[in-house]
């Protein structure tokens, strides 16, 4: 069923446990209102795609969720904590449970693949031994099929490989929620499909929930359990891919042409 924003969406089914609840989140830059009373829920094990035009505020939304941007108003409840109210120390704790895959991959140029993957561990798993860290790094790289690149520099990797390494780095802390910022942008359709299938497979393997920002319909079809339409800064509609695809609403239809 397609849910319009005016209607309060029931918080999932009885067996659904919300891991993230956004309520009336607003953010503006100067006179530009990017998010306007945006609300939605993410349930455990669910993959929600946020679909919207370029510049519609999708990236701002997930940066608000991870605490990189502070919303002007509203609450962002992640795993029981309201993100805008947390101090840096509390934010760090939450960030260990929330992975973020950047659109540009954001791999550290000055480091090797191994060092890139070890970086999140140095803070969150400070008490681990070298052997344990090595095992985790190898496991994360094996999950994305790139164990052989462990000692390569990131500049030697192709676009698809960089995306996979970034995904491995995101997953190394075994997060409960993963935020993907346009994971297939800039990739060819075949590699994009591989990445989308990998995301699906890893979500199943580690039972993670995810918010995926995308406008790549192939990726959306593969990974989405449900889709949130971000239009005019609001949660314009929410529903399954097939439901939205057959919607009569003109604004929704534009995305599926």
């Amino acid at each position: 069923m397609i849910t319009q924003p005016e209607i309060n969406r029931p918080i999932g089914q009885e067996h659904d446990v919300p891991v993230m609840q956004l309520r009336n989140v607003s953010k503006s830059f100067g006179t530009n209102d990017v998010l306007r009373d945006f609300s939605f829920d993410l349930n455990k094990g669910e993959n929600v795609v946020v679909l919207g035009k370029s510049g519609s505020g999708k990236s701002v939304l997930i940066k608000c969720i991870i605490g990189l941007i502070k919303p002007d108003s509203g609450s962002i409840n992640v795993l029981g904590k309201n993100i805008p109210e947390l101090n840096n120390h509390e934010l760090d704790k939450i960030r260990a449970k929330v992975g973020f895959l950047f659109q540009s991959n954001a791999l550290y140029d000055s480091m090797t693949v191994r060092e890139n993957l070890e970086f999140p561990l140095r803070r969150h798993k400070a008490k681990m031994t070298k052997t344990q860290i090595d095992e985790l790094v190898v496991e994360a790289l094996t999950n994305v099929g790139l164990a052989h690149t462990i000692d390569m520099r990131t500049s030697e990797l192709s676009g698809g490989m960089k995306k996979r390494v970034a995904l491995a780095r995101t997953l190394i802390l075994k997060p409960e929620i993963i935020l993907y910022d346009e994971p297939t942008t800039g990739l060819d359709p075949i590699t994009g499909k591989e990445i989308s299938e990998l995301m699906r497979e890893l979500a199943k393997k580690y039972n993670t929930s995810a918010i995926i920002i995308s406008h790549d319909l192939n990726c959306v079809r593969i990974v989405a359990d449900s889709i949130v339409m971000l239009i005019d800064g609001k949660c314009y509609a929410q529903g399954k891919y097939e439901e939205l695809q057959t919607s009569n609403d003109k604004k929704i239809q534009e995305f599926f042409i």
Binding site: F100, A106, R123
Partner: protein, 255 residues
């Protein structure tokens, strides 16, 4: 609304001051990024050694050769080591080294942090639970502040050796005589203030490079602009700080 030039200058000065204040607030609190600090010492300090040494050697040599004819005219050729050592140690070696470092280190830090900023690497660091200001900025400012004085001491020594060779191109000054004259002339009041001011040079170079890189925007164009303005502003600051240092030294009668 478009800001005037004066307003932008004041805003920028305020932002840089706040940025420097944040360094003092964060750099001395645990957790200390010792590994990154040592890595930066290698890149900022050790990797700048050859450039600083070659420049200092040439400056020592050239200053001696250029000064000689004037001293010969007054029959004061024997004073050559004295004059050269004072000008090299008090002014030329510190300022030239700081300018070389402003170019090499300032632009390097500005471009590195700028490209990290526009490719979201700084955000990625924050998301992975590492304070990027502490990890990237505090370590680089600290390294620049501590390594530039060491480079200046080296530059002093190498430039004085250049001066010795310069003195022997036309004239004859023995190794022992040259160094005896140099050390007879130089007092602690020459050496200490000139080294102390280089801590400020280093701090200014590190702070400006980091500020420009950390606040870089507008994609790759912004990175180039950050690197460029880091060099321009830190070079200018070196001269301003030098001017202030000379006034203070003069006031304290250390001349």
């Amino acid at each position: 609304m478009k800001q005037g030039v004066l307003m932008r200058f004041l805003n920028e000065t305020g932002d840089i001051t706040r940025f420097a204040g944040r360094f003092f607030k964060e750099a001395f609190k645990p957790r200390y990024e010792i590994g990154e600090f040592l890595r930066q010492c290698f890149f900022i300090g050790y990797k700048s050694l050859p450039l600083v040494a070659i420049t200092a050697f040439i400056m020592g040599l050239v200053i001696t050769i250029q000064s000689r004819p004037t001293l010969v005219e007054f029959g004061a050729e024997a004073w050559l080591p004295k004059m050269v050592s004072v000008s090299l140690v008090r002014e030329i070696a510190p300022v030239i080294t700081a300018l070389i470092c402003a170019g090499k280190i300032g632009s390097g830090i500005g471009a590195e942090l700028g490209s990290m900023k526009v490719t979201e690497q700084i955000d990625a660091m924050e998301v992975s639970g590492t304070n990027p200001f502490k990890y990237l900025v505090a370590t680089r400012i600290m390294t620049a502040t501590l390594t530039i004085p060491i480079l200046v001491v080296l530059a002093d020594a190498v430039s004085l050796y250049g001066g010795y060779l310069g003195a022997n191109i036309r004239g004859v000054v023995s190794w022992d005589l040259y160094w005896n004259q140099v050390f007879d002339t130089l007092a602690f009041s020459d050496v200490i203030p000139s080294i102390l001011k280089t801590f400020f040079f280093g701090f200014a170079i590190g702070t400006i490079g980091c500020y420009k890189g950390y606040n870089s925007n507008k994609g790759t164009e912004g990175v180039g602009r950050s690197a460029n303005s880091a060099v321009v502003i830190s070079s200018l600051l070196v001269f301003i700080l030098d001017l202030l240092a000379v006034q203070i030294i003069d006031l304290l009668n250390l001349t």
